[in-house]
Symmetry: C2
Subunit: 350 residues, 2 copies
């Protein structure tokens, strides 16, 4: 079933011209969007995938549930501020949180490479369990597979999650409205810089720790306090830029952000400057963007800042009626278009 990469009749991604998978197909950028839009979603076509949300919202016996899954292939497995176990819990918990769901249950499927130290497996599972328990959930079902040396990279984990939506809000891209305020829950780019620093061979050191954290308590706090949330999205691969570009397209609106308002920690800004990276594109694992009604934006911002995970929250922009574009305004009042890179700044960030 193999294909010739140089000539591909019937190539499943004709416009992009790829017959073989390239790293950028997993990078959160334009090539990944093309893979999803032209191959994966059509092959699995159904109305839930068409929701284009991080979690599917499903009805079971009159109960509204959120269901999500993610594979974690972060490299290295241990990085400042976390490890693949903590990431595998928090990433899935965050996908439930941004659907407005209270997390209930997690699953974990392990693909372990022959030769992987069992002590490391124990450390990672202990992290996974601690993060699951801290969110009031547990890993209730799982699976373990072992592949030969050279057919994996230590450990991959796929976690799925089920949460319950026990409030009437319908949070998602379709609820975004013109004039909505755009907030972020904290400063950006910590996870990207921390993983970059931890990766072998890059010869780069920093004290920046990953922001890896479970946002569900923060979202539940906002909902319990009566805040109206139009749309939430956690910022992972591709960073704030990728999230905004996808949401603008899916909601059919323009989004305008103010460069100076976007919070970036000094260590992240320094590392970005040295390495030529844009904090807007750097990955996060404990940050989200929020779209809220303008009249309520200051109250929501204050509520976020009162929570340990939202201390650096900021109001960064506004939704305009439009055709699905994102632009940022510089300190000089000029605008630049924010678009997806073809791949990502750094592969295997999560």
């Amino acid at each position: 079933m193999s294909s010739d990469p140089t000539f591909a009749p019937g190539c499943p991604l004709p416009a992009a011209g790829y017959a073989l998978t390239v790293m950028a197909h997993g990078g959160g950028g334009r090539l990944m969007q093309q893979l999803l839009d032209r191959l994966i979603r059509p092959a699995l076509d159904n109305p839930w995938l068409a929701q284009r949300h991080d979690a599917a919202v499903i009805e079971c016996g009159g109960v509204r549930l959120a269901f999500t899954t993610d594979a974690y292939v972060v490299k290295p497995l241990f990085f400042p501020g976390g490890d693949i176990g903590k990431l595998a819990a928090c990433g899935t918990l965050n996908d439930l949180a941004v659907a407005g769901a209270r997390p209930l249950f997690l699953s974990a499927a392990l693909v372990i490479e022959e030769g992987f130290p069992l002590a490391d497996l124990k450390t990672v599972l202990t992290s996974l369990n601690a993060a699951a328990r801290a969110a009031g959930t547990a890993v209730v079902t799982g699976d373990t597979k072992v592949v030969e040396r050279g057919k994996g990279d230590g450990l991959y984990i796929a976690t799925s999650g089920i949460g319950v939506i026990d409030h009437p809000q319908r949070i998602g891209p379709r609820a975004i409205r013109a004039d909505d305020a755009v907030l972020v829950s904290g400063d950006l780019g910590r996870h990207g810089v921390a993983v970059l620093a931890a990766r072998e061979g890059l010869g780069f050191e920093t004290t920046v720790q990953s922001d890896c954290a479970d946002l569900s308590a923060l979202v539940m706090d906002l909902i319990a306090a009566g805040h109206e949330l139009h749309c939430l999205r956690d910022l992972t691969r591709g960073g704030l830029a990728a999230a905004l570009v996808e949401l603008a397209r899916d909601a059919g609106v323009d989004i305008e952000v103010d460069d100076a308002a976007i919070p970036v920690a000094p260590g992240v800004r320094a590392a970005s400057g040295i390495l030529g990276l844009d904090p807007l594109h750097l990955a996060n694992e404990g940050r989200m963007v929020l779209f809220v009604p303008p009249a309520q934006a200051d109250a929501t911002l204050a509520r976020l800042r009162g929570h340990p995970l939202g201390r650096e929250a900021a109001r960064i922009g506004v939704v305009r009626g439009g055709r699905g574009g994102v632009r940022s305004r510089s300190a000089y009042g000029t605008f630049r278009v924010i678009d997806l890179p073809s791949g990502e700044q750094l592969p295997r960030i999560c």
Copy 2:
């Protein structure tokens, strides 16, 4: 965090003496049981994992759901009778089915190796979708990651599933009773032989096709017809032998099977004989063992045989009060103890 394999103070698997993962830790045999019992379950300790069932049974807002996950690393990706996509749907559907759950929703997380043909990805996802749809479900959420060449093996898929248990039966190891009849839903070992034949380098050919199939319609048919089902278990890695050994231990009973009653297709028997494999240990992906009250066993057997997936069903044994052992009776009336091998006959069978 690495360990010295030759000397392992604080080794997480002290009795087994392993500091590093070996292939047999994923093989469905004794080493995998030790990994689960001594490292994975203790690290994730919770009452749902203690159910020791293929799916966790969870309560959500008064609804009884089953939740399960599996990683699929079968090699090769395409084999007679199926591919990794069909397997990834059917394996997860079967874990729901043996919990007595009607399948509702699936998820899929893909770990794709750089260089994997996108045409193959399309073929596999089409198979996955077809099997999901045939069961009345859909893949409602997913994730895509790409890893570098040499860090994967084409494609790994982790699928999770949610099903609803909308009948009062509590099917599981704890419901097994002395005198229960032991049935199998079909002939054994087809998947193991088909994958063996398809694997490069073994220089072995057969016309045997994998039994890869979704058993949920068969289970739903039995339940709808009023059959009392004490325990069901689909027969995958480790085959019938591994399932019986685990269930005997978990239920605290002895299980006795009759060698001559165990259905094995001629092609599977021939291949097993040539290769020195025991059909009891060969993998299946569309077969289950059933524990039912003795008075109802013939009726259940007849019902199974009336279903396309149960035509070769057979009554193969009986449960005895005891201490958790499995034995099989030969045609000469002698007994042999059935135990787990340390690993499996063939790695990466599913």
